[in-house]
């Protein structure tokens, strides 16, 4: 699965980032979101880009504890195995993996298939596509 941004529809309001951190972490904090909208120039909100999990699986392949797995749709972390080393955070090309409050990896899981960012986007700028890794 992956997220798709319709640049034309996106106004840059960042509600997606807020609902992501609220849903997954119970707080409002874009730094803890698994989605980011970036601009070439924030002043004009031009060239919007979506940063979200592309299922490149680089994190999984590089996890020294083999704590990250892929269920065919999204990533999962075995918190028993996760040592909190933070390698996945550093290596994620999209910058959307963070450490959670217990110092374990928090990986994007597309809200288990029903991303709240899609549901909350006021301009229907986000959608999902099923895709194999």
């Amino acid at each position: 699965m992956k997220l798709i941004l319709n640049e034309e529809k996106c106004t840059g309001c960042k509600i997606c980032e807020l609902i992501c951190s609220a849903t997954h972490r119970g707080v409002f904090n874009p730094e803890k979101a698994h989605i980011k909208i970036t601009f070439n120039d924030i002043r004009t909100a031009s060239e919007k880009q979506l940063k979200a999990c592309t299922l490149c699986l680089v994190c999984m392949k590089n996890c020294p504890a083999e704590a990250i797995s892929f269920n065919g749709k999204w990533l999962m972390v075995d918190s028993e195995l996760c040592t909190g080393c933070g390698q996945c955070v550093d290596i994620c090309p999209e910058g959307v993996i963070h450490m959670d409050n217990n110092e374990k990896a928090a990986v994007p899981d597309f809200c288990q298939g029903n991303p709240s960012c899609i549901e909350w986007c006021p301009h229907q700028a986000l959608s999902k596509a099923e895709s194999a890794a």
């Binding site: 840059g12 309001c13 960042k14 609220a22 707080v27 409002f28 002043r43 004009t44 909350w120 006021p122």
Partner: protein, 584 residues
Amino acid sequence: MSYQWEILRVNLSSGKAMREPLNRAWAEKYFGGRGLGAKYLYEELKGGVDPLSPYNKIILATGPLSGTIVPCSGKLAVISKSPATGAIVDSSIGGTFASQLKFAGYDLLIIEGRAKKPVYVNIKDDAVEIHSAGHLWGKGIGETERALHEKHGANTAVLSIGPAGENLVPFSCAGSENRQAGRGGIGSIMGSKNLKAITCSGSKDVTVPDMLRFLELIKRLMHEDVLSNTNQWVYLTGTPMIVDMSNAAGILPTRNYQDGMFEGARNINAERIQNLRPEKRACFTCALGCGNYLRFKGGGVEGPEYETLALAGSGCGIDNLEAIARFNAECDELGMDTISLGNVISFAMEMTEKGIKDFGLRFGDVATYLKMPHLVAFKEGIGQELSLGVRQLSQRYGGEEFAMQVKGLELPGYDPRGSWGMGLAYATASRGGCHMSAWPVADEAFGKVNPFTIEGKAQMVITGQHYNAIKFSLILCDFWALSLDTMSQIMSCVLNRDVPVSELEVAGERIWNMLRLFNVREGFKITDDSLPERIFKDALKSGTPAGRVLPREQFDTMLQEYYQLRGWDREGIPTPEKLAQLNV
């Protein structure tokens, strides 16, 4: 919870930054934004302080909703004492600055003193640094912002001033992300402190007491309220929609308020702007998105908004949309309020055409008009004089009867001769000629209430002033037309206690009295609660309000009724009983 319970105080004279706890008692009574900022400013300034001296302060205020997912809660209130009016000014600005300040861990930022040399303040969570801004001085707002993004990262919010602020133009503004804290000369106050910019980024949490309950409420409001038909105009057209409305109602300022209908209105209306297919932009956490980003050869501008189209368009007799867009872009970059500069130019045009004083400016003369932003911002040539603003210009050269200002602040785009309640709103607004305190024009000229009577208008203005006072304190954007009941639901959830509508109403009245107390201390009198002579004497010419003035006796009656309903004395001073009742 909801608040960060901390304020950051930066003293530019000593170069010290200090964190201190937010005054909880004040936060309970004034919430945030306009109200809390006014309370802090009132308590921290002595009366009579020179607005451009180191003793003035600038307060940047977020509110309990900033940083949350509440729609349209991305605004920052900037509160200070205005050099244009000598009154309190609160000017709000969208973008991401307010949320970044909250994520950095602060509810309020207070700037005091004066740096010896140009500086900017960089805030990154707990780390606060004052850097030299020598290399940025003289640069435009966009240029400054890009340079600081490059240095501190693209997610860093930048609030900065342009040359107009540096040169202490009394209607200079501060800008961020193509938006402005436009009114009252915020730019010059920053300039007087040698403060070029403030940059801010944060990584802390903003929390609410019960996230699930909160999200449930906001999701419901999003669908039932925010994204309902009532608010759709914000996204579909934005404020340019008002051009046609004002013109149809005969209250579109035309050639310095000599007329209320503009023959070129159809060339500068929402339809024309939408035909240019602007890109839509929203502030942080705004589900609506009023911004129209227009590109033109060699540049672009977020806008022009209605006020610019009115004051710098029809007001100057100009119906060339591209010229207005370019004028707008230049004002944004140089850091000037388009409402005030539009008024200044149209005043100078009338002075010239009437032969009172030749400024070399004529209605509809695009070429000369486009030279003005630069000349005024740098105080070059006639810009030196125009930079005085309408009131001072008229005091020096005459034309006071058509100097369209109240308390020194130039009027926005709704002619009160065709909306009598709006006249009272202008006359009594704490920051002078201001459309952000109450907007009775919605019910009068644009609604079903008779605009040409004073009956019921005092109460209408009071209700509007209280509503906006609380709304801009929470802090929510003007463009979400939500009810007090909806505000009450949100605040009850955010503060985890019952916050009834009645409490919000009382708080609105308390905030309004606070603003009034500030101005009373500065020596403002009943004679300052007035309107330009033209409104009382020169009849409008076109459409429904043709032949109308707002008769002075009627205005005076309305003003006395307003004072009485407010529990103020006949001179407009809040009585001790009223202040005690409100627990100001």
